[in-house]
């Protein structure tokens, strides 16, 4: 437990004004700290970690706070380490198409900057104004365009990670191809901050597409059996959609005003190629379905709404309880998972907004309602996922419910390896204790 004395000791390592007392009241999403520190440099991070590790104090790591409801069974750790002041671009080499950036930099800030150079990071996370690059990588967050561009593990080429004992370990590098030693980057991506604090990230960039297009295909009641054959036809064709994301009717209603299952296809290429692909879709459109090629302005509105529709751990607390599940399955099972999760609405008197990638196998189910109903619905949603051979992780849930419902589900058979890795890197369980699978 942190004391006034240790607060003062902390101030010996980093500037006084960067250490503050934590909030008096417990945060509804937990993952708080009795003290809050705002390191401004890697040296600061290292000093704080080393101090905490030596003193047996626990640390919660936070970026923009959008994932504050993602895992964690400790309401208040000793220290909340906020990376919001550890931000900014370290190095951008446009000719090499690589970018090195401090972990606390908000994603949108990076994309806006890169757009001036006609480049981008090929990730499409939610809440991009608040979510930091470090948090996106720690939680391995991805969006619908993962189909075309892959996920964090495909974009990250180098990390600087501060270990719990304060040492700084570099992994990867600044080049796009690298097999020197173990691919340690992969260990930290998606590790929920349980191994080290990523302080700097190097990503490879992509050129901004010369032309973008959004095509919506909606399947009214009575035509839903056409979704799978249509998706299979698209996937088996020569066209290269960057997303092939299915929206459930409730979500489609919010985003498009039409309460039908809707497929979101996006194309990004040179103009002639994009037009060709739009035409291809027109020509294979199943009877009874509706196609809409969305104008640039409308598409911007659509995507903006899309990337802000999921529960946000950094938002104002509402009276309603919100939960999000990330479900992994075989690609085409996404359809069945969405359909089955639709039934939760009546069964538990909750609202369910869901979407999933038919080309990448990840779905997200967002459930809103009264606390008890939401808890029952997420448990059922996990069963739906497992019935289809997949898994479900609760990526957003209030702290109170996280104690009742298992966030990560069954531990894998090779859990001993995960434990072994944690014990090797963070033997004292200093960082984000109990935030990850099996209480790691």
């Amino acid at each position: 437990m942190i004391t006034a004395e240790s607060m003062n000791e902390l101030k010996e390592f980093i500037r006084e004004d960067l250490v503050m007392a934590g909030e008096n009241e417990a945060h509804p999403f937990g993952n708080s700290g009795h003290a809050v520190v705002y390191p401004e440099s890697e040296e600061d991070i290292s000093a704080i970690l080393k101090y905490a590790n030596t003193k047996g104090l626990t640390i919660t790591v936070m970026g923009g706070g959008t994932k504050r409801g993602y895992g964690g069974l400790t309401e208040t750790t000793d220290i909340l380490l906020s990376l919001e002041r550890h931000r900014g671009i370290v190095e951008h080499t446009p000719g090499d198409m690589t970018l090195t950036v401090k972990a606390g930099t908000p994603f949108k800030e990076l994309q806006d900057y890169l757009a001036k150079h006609k480049q981008k990071i090929s990730l499409d996370p939610f809440w991009p104004e608040q979510a930091t690059i470090g948090g996106i990588i720690a939680a391995n967050e991805s969006g619908p365009k993962r189909l075309g561009y892959g996920s964090a593990r495909d974009a990250v080429i180098g990390l600087r990670t501060v270990y719990p004992d304060g040492k700084v370990i570099r992994s990867g590098g600044k080049v796009v191809k690298n097999v020197a030693g173990y691919d340690m980057n992969k260990l930290f991506i998606g590790s929920m901050g349980t191994l080290g604090v990523v302080s700097e990230v190097t990503v490879k960039l992509r050129p901004l597409p010369k032309c973008e297009s959004l095509v919506l295909v909606s399947f009214p009641e009575g035509h839903q059996d056409k979704i799978q054959p249509f998706a299979v036809k698209v996937l088996d064709s020569m066209i290269e959609p960057v997303s092939l994301e299915l929206l459930n009717p409730t979500l489609a209603d919010r985003l498009t005003g039409q309460k039908n299952y809707t497929l979101v296809l996006s194309f990004e290429d040179v103009e002639s190629s994009v037009q060709y692909q739009e035409n291809f879709i027109k020509n294979i459109l199943p009877e009874g379905t509706e196609l809409k090629i969305v104008s640039k302005e409308e598409a911007d509105v659509f995507w903006k709404k899309f990337y802000h529709h999921i529960p946000n751990g950094a938002a104002e607390i509402t009276s309603e309880t919100e939960a999000s599940l990330k479900v992994g399955s075989v690609n085409l099972k996404v359809l069945q998972i969405l359909k089955n999760s639709e039934l939760l609405q009546d069964q538990f008197n909750v609202s369910v907004e869901a979407h999933g990638g038919l080309g990448h196998g990840l779905s997200q189910i967002h459930i809103r309602g009264a606390g008890k109903d939401v808890a029952a619905a997420v448990t059922e949603a996990r069963e739906i996922a497992e019935k289809e051979g997949g898994y479900a992780v609760l990526k957003h849930l209030p702290f109170k419910l996280r104690k009742e419902v298992d966030v990560w589900g069954k531990s894998p058979s090779y859990f001993f390896l995960l434990q072994g890795i944690k014990a090797t890197v963070d033997p004292k369980k200093t960082l984000n204790p109990n935030r990850f699978v099996g209480g790691i």
């Binding site: 000719g95 020197a180 691919d183 992509r206 020569m238 040179v270 002639s272 190629s273 994009v274 390896l417």
Partner: protein, 487 residues
């Protein structure tokens, strides 16, 4: 007639016991004459005899062999086709080699969900060949793809000419079945479902050079063939112009499927070898640029590439007239390493990576290394992603030349590391570049990696002595390498 364990011409109990696990004398090699073929892989400078080579037919047998070795403290390692270029499959400690070549089945293909499951001994190119009639392929395409195995590709995180756009092996692995160094069988990424909760062991094991476990089943992502493909060939009178053209193409927002470069000596090699295509011998650099994707969008990009090359003083630039010409250009390039045999008795290939923008600077440095060592160095490289393959030409019969070649190769890697690059992009560290790991990592960072190895491979019986410099032994081994290179 079945050959039984009692037919073995040895009294060694371990050989007998191992033979019993794999079902008889035909599935094990133990006599020196047979073992000689396994004393090295594609890295031929260092040689060592294994104790035996066993040929399991399934995961269960692999697990039994591993358990036996572990119990009896016999060092062991897995081997695919032996095409690795850094010595990852060389039995430094007289290992039991577990050859995966009999585990070579394509277990399943699921086109709708874009995945295939293979056994580790399945040959890379066979996968593409098996699904190409349906319009699909497996993207990673190392130059040795007609014989290298996918298991070996996973161990080394193999790349290839087309990974510029599509990524290397690790970007295409969805699931692995692994026999742990204690014989336990684990399955990661079941059914190829992405982002399994937990640390990303798929990513960690891929590229771990066979030091964390033995992969016995692999689920890979398969891709739809691009609708169109076009390749451009460009000749430059200066390497600088060629390099600049590479940068300009990338800066123009084009993502080529491949962007390859060869310098003058490399051209001399490929033109003297099996697939000459008539590259002029007096040019300084040739670029091969391939664009693929939606056919409707390709011409526009090709025009842009032609224009970029022209603006950089290209001597001649043109797109392939037809598929046959395109295939010839690529055959010529893909046999590049072997082609060095046509102009030099021996060669040593290196595998540095640099930020693309440092290309001219590093090529100048490599040229200087060549002048100072008195050895010719050819350069074949994946220019698009900055992966250089300097080929140091030497004659091992000339006293001292092998030493010089090793030294020159190491200096080339130092040059790459010094500009913020790395020592290997796709060939792996193996034995060859253990010492060079220090060019890019601190002692602490190397320790962070070996600590992870200990979680998986605590007794270090599996493929010991690879990947990492060992402080106490490195000097002797370097000396030994030199002695062997000379002998």
């Amino acid at each position: 007639m079945k050959v039984k364990v009692k037919d073995l011409k040895t009294k060694d109990k371990h050989i007998k016991n191992l033979a019993a696990i794999v079902g008889g004398a035909r599935s094990i090699l133990y006599q020196e004459t047979d073992l000689l073929a396994y004393d090295c892989d594609g890295f031929t400078i260092h040689k060592h005899l294994p104790k035996a080579v066993v040929f399991p037919k399934n995961t269960q047998e692999v697990a039994e062999i591993v358990k036996y070795c572990s119990k009896n403290e016999l060092p062991f390692l897995a081997r695919g086709a032996g095409t690795g270029l850094s010595g990852g499959a060389i039995p430094l400690n007289g290992e039991i080699i577990i050859s995966m070549v009999k585990m070579k089945k394509l277990l399943s293909v699921d086109l709708e969900n874009r995945r295939a499951v293979v056994e580790p001994g399945f040959v890379n190119l066979k996968l593409t060949n098996s699904i190409s009639d349906k319009g699909y392929y497996y993207a990673p395409d190392p130059s040795s793809q007609s014989c290298c195995t996918i298991g070996g590709n996973v161990a080394e995180n193999a790349g290839g000419a087309h990974c510029l756009k599509y990524g290397v092996t690790t970007n295409h692995i969805l699931g692995l079945e692994v026999v742990m160094p204690n014989g336990e069988i684990i399955e990661i990424g079941q059914d190829g479902i992405p982002d399994a909760p937990g640390y990303d062991l798929l990513g960690l094991i891929t590229g771990s050079e066979g030091t964390l476990g033995i992969v016995t089943k692999i689920t890979v992502r398969i891709l739809k063939n691009p609708e169109g493909k076009q390749t451009v060939l460009a000749y430059f009178d200066s390497v600088e112009d060629g390099s600049q053209a590479v940068s300009d193409i990338i800066s123009a927002g084009i993502v080529p499927a491949a962007l390859e470069m060869m310098d003058k000596i490399a051209i001399e090699g490929v033109e003297s070898a099996a697939f000459p295509v008539g590259h002029p011998k007096d040019i300084e650099a040739v670029l091969l640029i391939e664009v693929d994707g939606i056919a409707a969008g390709i011409n526009e990009q090709i025009e842009q590439i032609l224009e970029v090359c022209r603006s950089r003083n290209v001597r001649e630039v043109r797109a392939a007239k037809n598929e046959a010409e395109r295939a010839r250009w690529w055959a010529n390039r893909k046999t590049g390493f072997g082609a060095m045999g046509a102009i030099s008795p021996d060669y040593l290939v290196q595998d540095g990576v640099i930020p693309r923008s440092k290309l001219p600077e590093v090529l100048r440095k490599i040229n200087q290394i060549s002048v100072e060592s008195g050895l010719r160095i050819a350069n074949i490289f994946h220019a698009g992603d900055g992966n250089l393959h300097p080929l140091v030409l030497f004659d091992s019969r000339v006293s001292g030349e092998s030493e010089k070649a090793l030294e020159a190769g190491s200096l080339c890697l130092k040059a790459c590391a010094d500009v913020g690059g790395t020592i290997t992009g796709e060939h792996g560290v193996g034995i060859e570049k253990r010492e060079e790991m220090r060019f890019v990592f601190t002692e602490e960072e190397i320790a962070a990696q070996t600590e992870i190895r200990e979680v998986f491979n605590p007794d270090n019986l599996l493929n010991a002595g690879k990947l990492f410099p060992s402080p106490s032994r490195c000097v002797e081994i370097k000396q030994e390498m030199k002695t062997q290179a000379i002998s």
